[in-house]
């Protein structure tokens, strides 16, 4: 996949397919450590102990054996390609936590992509699910919580088109403000 936001969309869709009612997406950029961490935590059905070791094997991905698609194998490859790794923790009937680590400025680290668009699609497409999106760059934090939005919106649903616009813009501006690394900084070599 060309952008990390596409990977995130894919992983969150696994969470939704597993019946999650709350999905938390946390992205952390640690500049001194040259580290980018993406964490998706849900409260879905979870993955059995027997299945857990197989979730990153692309050849176990038939619809008859499990529900998740190629999302995890591809994310694992994307992380490992740039000096990172993928960890999946799960407990049946409790939920699943996916942690992908990337070297922030590795040449092959995919650009972040449009998180505004991704979150907009997820929120507007699943108005009954609670989403949290937190993005940290060192000590600077951007946070979006649909629970809080619900309180402000009152009778307006999260699937209202104006909500999609708001989410998109709020994230795009918010990420700019905290200086989120949209893609690895390799232009430095040109200075």
């Amino acid at each position: 996949m060309l952008e990390l936001s596409m990977h995130i969309l894919d992983i969150v869709q696994n969470s939704l397919a597993a019946g999650s009612t709350r999905v938390e997406i946390r992205i952390r950029e640690d500049l001194p450590q040259d580290l980018l961490v993406i964490e998706v935590q849900d409260n879905g059905r979870g993955i059995s102990d027997a299945m857990l070791p197989k979730v990153t094997d692309p050849f176990v991905t038939s619809r008859t054996t499990r529900e998740v698609g190629l999302g995890l194998p591809l994310l694992k490859e994307a992380a490992e390609r740039c000096g990172g790794c993928l960890e999946v923790y799960s407990e049946e009937n409790r939920g699943t936590r996916v942690v992908a680590r990337f070297r922030l400025d590795h040449f092959d680290r995919a650009p972040l992509g449009d998180m505004g668009e991704t979150m907009g699609i997820l929120i507007a497409g699943n108005p009954g699910v609670d989403f949290l999106y937190e993005h940290r760059v060192d000590a600077r934090i951007y946070l979006l919580e649909t629970e809080k939005m619900r309180q402000i919106l009152g009778s307006i649903g999260l699937d209202d088109p104006s909500v999609l616009d708001f989410v998109r813009q709020d994230i795009q501006m918010g990420l700019k403000k905290i200086g989120a690394a949209t893609f690895p900084k390799i232009m430095e070599v040109l200075r």
């Binding site: 060309l2 390609r81 040449f107 092959d108 650009p111 949209t182 893609f183 690895p184 390799i186 232009m187 070599v189 040109l190």
Partner: protein
């Protein structure tokens, strides 16, 4: 063949309109993995890729590539074009997928010889 003539014959759009495209091209490289291009492209290559972000310009400058052809109709990011113009890296765009456009280039004598 000159970049300009390749672009004209194969109907590519020149996205960096301010740049001249007189460079002579003999070889090319196709890959979407930046580290792979850094390791395996050679000076003067025309690079065919689906990547559109700013870093493609950095790679082209580092490896002295003659230009970048973005395949599958993808649009380069605005800051990519800005930096490409500044660093004099011509960027073209074709609606054809990589496989197709590389085939056409090969027919016109552009090889992947290393």
């Amino acid at each position: 063949m000159k970049l300009k003539d390749l672009a004209e014959r194969l109907g590519w759009e020149l996205k960096t309109r301010s740049l001249t495209v007189e460079a002579e091209v003999k070889t090319g490289y196709a890959s979407d993995l930046l580290s792979d291009v850094l390791a395996n492209s050679i000076e003067g290559d025309l690079w065919v890729t689906r990547q559109t972000h700013l870093n493609i310009v950095a790679i082209a400058v580092m490896r002295d590539l003659s230009g970048i052809l973005i395949a599958s109709g993808a649009e380069p990011d605005p800051d990519t074009l800005e930096k490409a113009a500044e660093k004099m890296v011509p960027i073209f765009r074709t609606t054809l997928p990589t496989f197709e456009v590389v085939g056409l280039l090969y027919q016109l004598g552009i090889t992947g010889k290393r």
